[in-house]
């Protein structure tokens, strides 16, 4: 598994645009087609937003770590925060039939990624989210 990069940003909404350009370029570098790259951008952006809003609860001094790996077959995104361990049971999408603002981020992530693992960091404060998606080079119809 090749490590493409590690990015560390403060938990500030301004920095999401940095995450997006980096995920887009990494996905292209890993051989993802444009449509998939855009979906990965959306999913990782949502995951970072959730950390900002729910793990750090708006505290902009927190740090978010994003690592991107490529094993040739799939691209992996590992996120870490150093907020208080979050309630893992509460992390779930709203029912989509229900039209109301919010509750879409986790749905986007689940739709786009092939696998997600979430948990508390060992020995201390913090949480991780590991996401994996198979690389496909051709645009779907």
């Amino acid at each position: 598994m090749h490590k493409l990069l590690e990015l560390r940003i403060p938990s500030h909404p301004d920095r999401l645009c940095l995450v997006r350009v980096l995920v887009r370029r990494s996905a292209q570098l890993a051989g993802c087609h444009d449509q998939l790259s855009e979906q990965l951008v959306l999913a990782v952006n949502e995951a970072c937003m959730n950390i900002m809003q729910h793990a750090y609860q708006g505290d902009e001094s927190g740090e978010i770590v994003l690592e991107i790996f490529n094993n040739g077959d799939s691209i992996h995104f590992h996120l870490r925060d150093f907020a208080r361990p979050v309630d893992l049971e509460r992390i779930k999408p709203r029912a989509l039939g229900d039209v109301k603002p919010g509750g879409l981020g986790t749905h986007f992530i689940r739709e786009i990624m092939d696998e997600c693992r979430i948990g508390h960091l060992e020995g201390g404060d913090g949480n991780y989210l590991e996401m994996r998606r198979k690389i496909s080079g051709e645009n779907a119809s």
Partner: protein, 110 residues
Amino acid sequence: MSYNQRQHEGVSIIELSGEIDLSQSPIARQQILGVIESGQDLLVDMAAVSYIDSSGVASLVEGYQAARKNQRQFALVAVSNSAMSVLSLARLDQVFPIYASVDAYFQQDD
């Protein structure tokens, strides 16, 4: 993100452009709700939206709901491919009234 607001045949049109993410969606939300609460019908032109995340989508949902409550029209027009794929993923392409263009909206009214 940037936005531009204009009037056309008694309807308010907000043109959003660029990236509507968590740092920008509060501004979009404020514009959208401002129009609805002032009692006007609203078209949101999304031709130049290059990116929209769930917080941007939430602002549209709020506008849609406020319009229903106030018995006003709310529709999206000229939605960019990028925004449309996010709306589809949210299954909201079946919920929002969506028109190909501002003209298409006014034609259906005739």
